[in-house]
C-alpha cells in the first residue's frame, strides 16, 4: 500500500516538474536577462556571475534613446487599460441588465450578435477596424485603441454578466416592483451589489485584455509619445542595435502589473470566467 502511494506521487512529480520548467522557462529567461550585466547575458549561463539591478536603473531613468518615453508609455498603457475596463463595465453591465432582468425587446438578438462578434477572431477585424478608424479621423489617437478594445471586450463581458444575472432569483425583481421601485433603483440598489463578483471579473478581464494587446495598438498608434509599452517593445526589436538586456528588462516590467492584478483578483476571475464556458 505504501509502495503504491510512493508510485502515485512519483507519477505526479513526473508530470509536475516538466510543467514547471515548460511554464517558467521563458519567464525565468526574461528575468535572467534583466538581472545580468550586458556582457554576461548571452553566455548561456543559468545565473549571472554578478547579478545587478543596473538594467532597471537605466530603464527607470530612461537612459537610452529607445527608452526616452518609458514612463509616458507606461502611463499610456495604464490609461488605455483602465478606461477600457471602465467603459466596458458601463456598456456591458447596462446591456446585461437590460437583456437579463428587464427582458428588453430585441435583447436576445443583441445577445446573439454580441456572441457572434465574440467568436470571430479579433485579428480578422483588425484591418477593417484600422481603415474605419481612418475614416473616423481617430488614427494615432488613443481613443481609437480604447474604443476598439471596448468593442472586443464587450461581447464576452455581456455574456458572462448575463449568465451570472440569469441566476439571480426573480423574486427580488418582483419584490422591488411591488414596492414601487423604479428600474434604476432596482439596478443600483439590488442588481449591482449582487453582481459585484462578476463585475470585478469582467472589469479585470477587459483591463488585462487592453494592457496586453499588441496587434490593435500597433496598428492604431504610431507616435512615440502615444504608444503603449507593448508596441514600444516591438519597435525596440526592429532596430539592429537593440540593447537586448534593456529590452528584456522593460518586458519584465511590462509583464508584472497584469500578473499582479491577476493574482489579486484571481478568486473572481477564475469563477467568473469559467462559469459561462462550462454551462454547455
Amino acid at each position: 500500500m505504501k509502495l503504491r502511494h510512493v508510485a502515485t506521487e512519483a507519477k505526479l512529480l513526473l508530470i509536475g516538474i516538466p510543467v514547471l520548467i515548460w511554464t517558467m522557462l521563458p519567464v525565468y529567461h526574461l528575468f535572467l536577462f534583466a538581472i545580468s550585466p550586458k556582457d554576461q547575458a548571452m553566455g548561456g549561463k543559468l545565473w549571472p556571475d554578478t547579478p545587478t539591478l543596473h538594467n532597471f536603473e537605466v530603464v527607470f531613468r530612461q537612459q537610452h534613446h529607445y527608452l526616452n518615453y518609458f514612463w509616458q508609455q507606461m502611463w499610456n498603457s495604464l490609461f488605455i487599460a483602465v478606461l477600457t475596463g471602465l467603459i466596458t463595465l458601463l456598456v456591458a453591465t447596462g446591456a446585461a441588465f437590460a437583456i437579463s432582468r428587464l427582458k428588453v425587446r430585441g435583447g436576445r438578438t443583441v445577445m446573439n450578435l454580441a456572441l457572434f462578434t465574440y467568436f470571430i477572431p479579433a485579428a480578422f477585424l483588425a484591418v477593417p477596424m484600422y481603415k474605419t478608424m481612418g475614416v473616423y479621423g481617430l488614427l494615432n489617437n488613443q481613443w481609437a485603441l480604447i474604443l476598439a478594445m471596448v468593442t472586443i471586450a464587450s461581447p464576452y463581458s455581456i455574456w458572462v454578466l448575463k449568465q451570472a444575472s440569469d441566476k439571480l432569483p426573480w423574486e427580488l425583481d418582483e419584490a422591488a416592483r411591488i414596492d414601487g421601485a423604479s428600474p434604476l433603483q432596482l439596478f443600483r440598489l439590488v442588481y449591482l451589489p449582487l453582481m459585484m463578483p462578476s463585475l470585478v471579473a469582467v472589469g479585470t478581464y477587459a483591463l488585462l485584455l487592453a494592457w496586453n494587446e499588441y496587434l490593435y495598438a500597433f496598428l492604431l498608434l504610431s507616435n512615440d509619445k502615444d504608444l503603449t509599452l507593448g508596441v514600444a517593445l516591438g519597435n525596440f526589436l526592429a532596430a539592429d542595435d537593440s540593447p537586448w538586456e534593456l529590452l528584456m528588462t522593460t518586458g519584465l516590467i511590462y509583464a508584472m502589473p497584469p500578473a499582479a492584478i491577476y493574482y489579486a483578483f484571481k478568486r473572481y476571475m477564475v469563477g467568473g470566467l469559467t462559469a459561462g464556458a462550462v454551462k454547455s
Partner: protein, 289 residues
C-alpha cells in the same frame, strides 16, 4: 466619449405610449452597446467587405505563392497545434485536480503565460533560440559539443515553434476550463467506481470522458476559430519569415496592409470565412441554448 453618453431620450412625459418604464429603461441601457456594435462592428465589417468586392483581388491572391503557403500553415496550425494543445489540456486538468499543496502552488504559476502580455515572453523565447548565443543552443553545445539547429531560419521548425509558443500561451486557459468541467462531475461516481474496483483508465473512459465530451468538443472548436486569428505567436516570433514562409492568414492580412494592398488583405480574410462561419454557427447553436 461619444459611445459613453446615453443617447438622447425623450423626457418621461413624451415617451411613446405602451412602453412601460421597464422596457424604456431596457432600451436605454442596451443602447450604448448597440451604438458600439453599429459603429465599430457593423460599419467596419461592411467597409471591409466592400473593399474586398473586386474579383480580381481574389485572382491576384490565389496567384500569390505566399497566400497558398499561409493557408497550408494555418491548416497545420489548427489541425496539429490545437489537437495537441487540447489533449495536453485534458491530461493536465486531471493532474491539477489532485489535492496536493505543491500542485496548488504549481497551478498558480501555470496560469502566468495566459495572464501576462505576449510580447515580452515571445521576445524572450526568440532570444533563447538565437543560434549563436541563445540559451538553448548554448546548452546543446555544453552537453553535446555540437551546434544546435538554426531554429527560426528553418520554415518548418519555425512554424512548429510558433505552434509551441501558441500552446505555451493558451494552454492555461483551456486547462482551467477543463478543470472546471472535471470538478462538476459528482465525486460519488468515482467513489462507486472505486468500490467496484475500476482502474483509473476505466474511470476516465466510463465516467470522465462521457461527461466531458461535449465541453471538450466546444473548447476544441472555439480554440480552432480563435487560433486562425492568432497574430502574435507568428508575427512576434518569426515576423512571417524566413522568406515569408511561416505566415498564417492573420499575419498575411497585416502584411498586405503594410504593402498598401488593402483589397488583398480583406480578400485573404473573406477567403477564410467559409471555414470560420460554419464553426461559429455551430458555437452559437451550442451556447445560446
Amino acid at each position: 466619449m461619444a459611445t459613453l453618453a446615453l443617447p438622447e431620450v425623450p423626457p418621461a412625459g413624451t415617451a411613446r405610449k405602451g412602453l412601460s418604464p421597464w422596457q424604456r429603461w431596457g432600451l436605454i441601457m442596451l443602447a450604448p452597446y448597440v451604438v458600439v456594435f453599429l459603429v465599430f462592428v457593423v460599419y467596419p465589417v461592411g467597409y471591409g467587405l466592400w473593399l474586398a468586392r473586386h474579383p480580381e483581388s481574389y485572382v491576384r491572391l490565389v496567384d500569390d505563392p505566399i497566400f497558398l503557403r499561409s493557408v497550408y500553415n494555418t491548416l497545420a496550425f489548427v489541425v496539429i497545434g490545437i489537437n495537441v494543445k487540447m489533449v495536453v489540456a485534458l491530461v493536465l486538468s486531471g493532474f491539477f485536480i489532485q489535492a496536493r499543496i505543491w500542485i496548488k502552488v504549481l497551478s498558480l504559476l501555470f496560469i502566468l503565460p495566459w495572464a501576462i502580455p505576449s510580447i515580452p515572453t515571445i521576445l524572450s523565447i526568440r532570444f533563447m533560440l538565437n543560434p549563436e548565443w541563445g540559451l538553448i543552443n548554448s546548452l546543446i553545445f555544453r552537453f553535446t559539443g555540437g551546434d544546435g539547429p538554426n531554429w527560426l531560419n528553418d520554415p518548418t521548425l519555425a512554424l512548429a515553434i510558433a505552434m509551441l509558443v501558441h500552446i505555451w500561451k493558451s494552454l492555461p486557459f483551456w486547462t482551467l476550463i477543463l478543470i472546471a468541467g472535471r470538478l462538476a462531475i459528482p465525486a460519488e461516481h468515482y467513489e462507486a467506481a472505486s468500490v467496484d474496483g475500476a482502474t483509473s483508465w476505466q474511470k476516465f473512459r466510463y465516467i470522465t470522458w462521457p461527461s466531458m465530451r461535449t465541453l471538450y468538443l466546444t473548447c476544441l472548436i472555439l480554440s480552432m476559430i480563435w487560433t486562425m486569428g492568432d497574430f502574435n505567436s507568428v508575427y512576434l516570433l518569426t515576423g512571417g519569415g524566413p522568406a515569408d514562409l511561416t505566415h498564417v492568414l492573420a499575419t498575411l492580412g497585416i502584411r498586405y496592409l503594410r504593402l498598401d494592398q488593402v483589397d488583398l488583405s480583406m480578400a485573404a480574410i473573406v477567403v477564410a470565412l467559409p471555414a470560420v462561419l460554419p464553426l461559429v454557427y455551430f458555437m452559437m447553436k451550442r451556447l445560446s441554448r
